[in-house]
C-alpha cells in the first residue's frame, strides 16, 4: 500500500472477509475435485492468507481468517482429498527451510549454497534411529533388534537433531567464516556435495546410511493416534497426513516466532550490521565470527528439524533426495520472496513449490499428450521430440532465471522487507556509502 504519511490507509477488512468466504464456498462446493480448475480454486484460497497478512485490516478479522482457514477449512478439504494436504505440507516444509536460509543469507548476508546438507543431516538422524537401520552398526547387549525406536521417540530425537545440525553448522562455519563471503559460498557448495557422497558411500565398511539404496521403514510419530482415529470413512493414512500438516504448521509457527524475535534482538541487529559493513561492525565491537556462527547454526537447526520431519513423512529417504537442486531451490525461494523478509520467504516457498509440483508437471503431461498426437509446430513434428525431453526436469533453468532476473530487476524481492527495499532500490548514481566495492 503506497500511501503517504498523511492519509490513513484504507480499511480493507470487509473486502477481505468477503473474498475469503467466496473462496471457501467456491472451493468446497463448486471445484471440490483435484483437476486444474480445482487446484486454482485451492490456490485462490491460499492466496487469501497472504492477502490477509498484507493489507490493512482489523486485527480480530485477520486472526479469525488465519484460524478458520488453517484449523478448519484446509483440514476439511484435506481430509476429503489428501492431495491438498500433501501440497500444503510440502510448501510448509520448504517454507521452514526458506526461513532458515533467510536467516543466513537475508539477515547475515552469508551466501550458503549447500543448505540442503543440514536438511540431510536431520533426515538421516531420524531415519537411522527411527528404522531398523541402526541395528547394522549398533547392537546393544544381546538384543540385536533394539531399533527401530518407538515412533513417538521422534520428538526426543527432534531435540537431538537441533543440536546435531547446529553443531554441523558450527563445524563447517569455523574455518570459513573468518574469511570473505565468497569463500563461504564455494565451501558450502562443496559441503553439500560431501554430505551426498558420504550418504552414498557410508554403507561399507560399516553400514551406517545404507548407501544408494536408502533407508526404508522410517517410523511415523503419533501413528497410534492416527490408527485410533481411523474409521471406515476416513482411513488412518488420512489422519496421518493431517498430523503431519499440524506438525509442520507448528514448526513454521515456531520458526516465524523465533525469526521475528531474533531479528529484533541484539543478535539480529548484529547480523544486519555485519551484512551492511563488516569493518564498521567490527569497529563498533560486534564479534564477527561469533555472530556469523550463530546465524549459521540457527539456520542449520531449522533445516535439521525439517529434515527429520521430512524423513518420517516420506518413510523412505535416499541420497538422491538431497541433491544440489534442492539447495538452489531454497535459495531461489528466499531471493524470490525477498532477502531478509519473513513473509517473503514463505511466499517464495509457496510459489516455487507449487510451480515445481503442479505447473511443470502439468506442462509435462500436456506436452506428452501433444507428442503422442504428433502435433506440428512450424513444420516440426512434436512426435520427433526425444523421450528425454521433460519440462518437469528443467528445475535449474527456472531457478537460474529466477535468481538472475530478481537480482537484476527487483533485488528486494516480491514481498520486501522495508529497510532492505529502501537500501536495494537506490537509483543508480546515488551515493552509496556502504558499497563493498573495495579492492583488495
Amino acid at each position: 500500500m503506497m500511501t503517504s504519511e498523511l492519509d490513513r490507509p484504507r480499511d480493507w477488512t470487509w473486502w477481505v472477509v468477503a473474498y475469503v468466504i467466496a473462496a471457501i464456498v467456491i472451493k468446497v462446493q463448486v471445484f471440490s475435485g483435484t483437476g486444474l480448475l480445482d487446484t486454482f480454486a485451492f490456490l485462490a484460497l491460499l492466496a487469501s492468507l497472504f492477502l490477509a497478512s498484507s493489507v490493512a485490516m482489523a486485527p480480530w478479522a485477520r486472526a479469525a481468517i488465519f484460524v478458520v482457514l488453517l484449523m478448519a477449512v484446509i483440514p476439511y478439504i484435506g481430509l476429503r482429498n489428501t492431495f491438498y494436504l500433501d501440497v500444503v505440507t510440502q510448501v510448509g516444509i520448504f517454507a521452514a527451510l526458506a526461513l532458515g536460509l533467510n536467516i543466513v543469507v537475508g539477515f547475515a548476508g552469508l551466501l550458503d549454497l549447500g543448505f540442503v546438507a543440514f536438511f540431510a543431516v536431520g533426515a538421516y538422524t531420524w531415519a537411522i534411529f527411527g528404522s531398523a537401520q541402526a541395528n547394522q552398526f549398533l547392537s546393544i547387549g544381546a538384543t540385536a533388534s533394539f531399533f527401530p525406536l518407538p515412533p513417538d521417540f521422534f520428538f526426543v530425537i527432534l531435540m537431538l537433531t537441533v543440536i546435531i545440525a547446529a553443531t554441523a553448522g558450527v563445524l563447517l562455519g569455523l574455518p570459513v567464516l573468518r574469511l570473505r563471503g565468497d569463500y563461504l559460498a564455494i565451501v558450502t557448495l562443496g559441503f553439500g556435495e560431501v554430505i551426498r557422497v558420504l550418504a552414498n558411500n557410508l554403507d561399507k565398511p560399516v553400514n551406517i546410511t545404507n548407501g544408494p539404496r536408502g533407508i526404508t521403514g522410517i517410523g511415523q510419530p503419533l501413528s497410534s493416534v492416527a490408527k485410533a482415529l481411523g474409521t471406515s470413512l476416513i482411513p488412518p493414512f488420512k489422519w496421518q497426513a493431517l498430523i503431519y500438516y499440524a506438525l509442520v504448521l507448528a514448526v513454521i509457527g515456531l520458526a516465524i516466532f523465533f525469526t521475528r524475535r531474533l531479528d529484533n534482538s541484539k543478535i539480529g541487529r548484529a547480523w544486519v550490521a555485519i551484512r551492511e559493513d563488516e569493518v564498521a561492525a567490527q569497529a563498533m565491537g560486534v564479534p564477527l565470527v561469533r555472530t556469523k556462527l550463530i546465524a549459521f547454526a540457527t539456520g542449520a537447526s531449522f533445516a535439521g528439524v525439517m529434515g527429520a520431519l521430512f524423513a518420517s513423512k516420506q518413510t523412505f529417504i535416499s541420497p538422491e533426495s538431497f541433491d544440489f537442486n534442492q539447495s538452489i531451490g531454497v535459495l531461489a525461494m528466499v531471493v524470490l520472496g525477498g532477502l531478509g523478509s519473513v513473509r517473503g520467504a514463505i511466499v517464495g516457498a509457496a510459489i516455487v513449490t507449487i510451480l515445481n509440483l503442479q505447473v511443470l508437471k502439468a506442462l509435462s503431461t500436456w506436452l506428452n499428450g501433444l507428442r503422442a498426437d504428433g502435433v506440428e509446430i512450424l513444420g516440426y513434428s512434436l512426435a520427433n521430440l526425444p523421450a528425454q525431453f521433460e519440462p518437469s526436469k528443467y528445475e535449474r533453468l527456472i531457478f537460474g532465471l529466477i535468481l538472475i532476473a530478481m537480482m537484476l530487476y527487483r533485488p528486494q524481492g516480491l514481498v520486501p522487507e522495508k529497510r532492505r527495499a529502501h537500501e536495494l532500490a537506490r537509483k543508480a548514481g546515488e551515493i552509496n556509502i556502504s558499497a563493498g566495492a573495495k579492492k583488495l
Binding site: V105, G109, L111, L113, P175, V176, R178, L179, G181, D182, Y183, A185, I186, V187, L189, G190, F191, E193, V194, V197, L198, N200, N201, K204, P205, R275, V279, A280, A283, I328, L331, V335, L339, L385, P386, Q388, F389, Y394, E395, R396, L397, F399, G400, L401, I402, L403, I404, M407, L408, P411, L424, A428, N432, S434, A435, G436, A437, K438, K439, L440
Partner: protein, 321 residues
C-alpha cells in the same frame, strides 16, 4: 597388493596426475583472472568450461568426422571453436549478469547470486538444446590415433592423448603469461586489477579490459573443456560442476588472483588427487574407495582456508577502511 606393485603404479600415476593438474591449471586461470580484476568468484566459469567441451565434441562429431583430416588437426580445430564460443559466452555473461550490478555498486552478495543463477541456467540450457537432438550425454569421438602410445620404459606408457593435452595446456599457459606480462593489453589488465579508478584516469577503458579478462579466461576454460573430454571420453551438461570446484580449489591453493599460483596450484592438486585415488583404496583395503576422490579436493580446500588462506604464492591482504 604389496609394496613393489604399488611402486610400479607410481610413474603412470604421476603422469596422469600431471595431465589432470594441467587441466585444472588451465581452468583455474579463468577463476583467478576474473578474481584478480573484479574480486568476484565467477561461478559460471564451470559451465563456460563445460560449454567449450560440448562445442568441441560437436565440432568433432558433426564437423570434421569422416573428412580424413589428421586427428591432431581436428583436435586443434575443435579447440579453436571452443575458444571462440566459450570466450564469447563469458563476455556475454559479464555483459548481462555482472556489468549492470557493477555499475550500480550493488552489495557484494548480489553478483554472487546472479553468478550462481547464470551457472544453473547454462546447465539446463545446454541440456535443453542437446535433448532436442537426442541424448544429452555426449561421447567424445573415438580416435584410434590418441590411444597409440609411446613406451618410455616397461612401466611408463604414455598415450598420445596425454601428450596432446600437455602440449596444448602448456601452450596456453605460455601464451597467457606472454599476454599478461609482455603486451600493452596485459599491462592494461594488470593496471585495472590494481586500481580501477586510477586506470580510468590514465585513459584505460576499464569496461573493455574487464570484458577482455572474461574473454581470455573463458577461452582458456573452453580449451580445458575439450581437453577434459579427450581425457575422460564423455561430457554432459552437468560435467562442469566437479572440475569447477576443483579448479577453484587449485586457484585458492596457489593464491587466488595470482596467475603463476593458479598454474602451480592446479598441478599440485591434480597430482595429489590422482595419488589419493590410486593409493587410498590400496592402503585402506578398499574401505575408502575411489568415490571419495571428489571430496578429497574439498578437504584440501578446507585445510588451506584454515592454515593459509592466501595460498602458496599469495600474499596476505589487509583490508583497509
Amino acid at each position: 597388493m604389496n609394496f613393489s606393485e604399488g611402486l610400479q603404479l607410481l610413474p603412470i600415476t604421476l603422469t596422469d596426475g600431471l595431465v589432470l593438474g594441467l587441466l585444472y591449471a588451465v581452468i583455474a586461470l579463468g577463476y583467478t583472472m576474473v578474481y584478480g580484476v573484479l574480486g568476484l568468484i565467477n561461478f559460471a566459469h564451470a559451465e563456460i568450461f563445460m560449454v567449450g567441451g560440448i562445442v568441441g565434441i560437436e565440432v568433432l562429431t558433426f564437423g570434421t568426422a569422416g573428412t580424413g583430416m589428421h586427428p591432431a588437426l581436428q583436435l586443434l580445430l575443435a579447440v579453436t571453436a571452443a575458444m571462440l564460443i566459450s570466450g564469447a559466452l563469458a563476455v556475454v555473461t559479464e555483459r548481462i549478469a555482472y556489468r549492470p550490478l557493477r555499475l550500480r555498486n550493488a552489495p557484494r552478495l548480489v553478483p554472487l547470486i546472479t553468478a550462481c543463477g547464470v551457472s544453473l541456467f547454462l546447465q539446463d540450457f545446454v541440456r535443453f538444446i542437446e535433448s532436442l537432438f537426442g541424448n544429452f550425454i555426449r561421447p567424445f569421438p573415438d580416435f584410434e590415433f590418441f590411444y597409440r602410445s609411446v613406451e618410455l620404459s616397461d612401466s611408463v606408457i604414455v598415450p598420445y592423448k596425454s601428450i596432446a593435452i600437455v602440449l596444448v595446456g602448456v601452450a596456453m599457459l605460455i601464451g597467457l603469461t606472454y599476454l599478461v606480462n609482455y603486451t600493452r593489453l596485459g599491462r592494461a589488465v594488470r593496471a585495472v586489477a590494481q586500481d580501477q579508478k586510477a586506470s580510468a584516469l590514465m585513459g584505460i577503458d576499464v569496461n573493455r579490459m574487464i570484458a577482455l579478462t572474461f574473454l581470455v579466461g573463458g577461452a582458456l576454460g573452453g580449451v580445458a573443456g575439450v581437453l577434459y573430454g579427450l581425457q575422460f571420453g564423455k561430457l554432459d551438461p552437468f560435467s562442469g560442476f566437479i572440475p569447477g570446484i576443483k579448479a577453484f580449489t587449485a586457484a585458492v591453493l596457489g593464491g587466488i588472483g595470482n596467475i603463476p599460483g593458479a598454474m602451480l596450484g592446479g598441478i599440485v592438486l591434480g597430482v595429489l588427487e590422482v595419488l589419493a585415488g590410486t593409493y587410498l583404496p590400496i592402503l585402506t583395503d578398499n574401505a575408502v574407495g575411489t568415490e571419495y576422490k571428489d571430496i578429497f579436493a574439498f578437504g584440501i580446500l578446507i585445510l588451506i582456508l584454515i592454515f593459509r588462506p592466501s595460498g602458496l604464492l599469495g600474499r596476505a591482504t589487509v583490508e583497509k577502511v
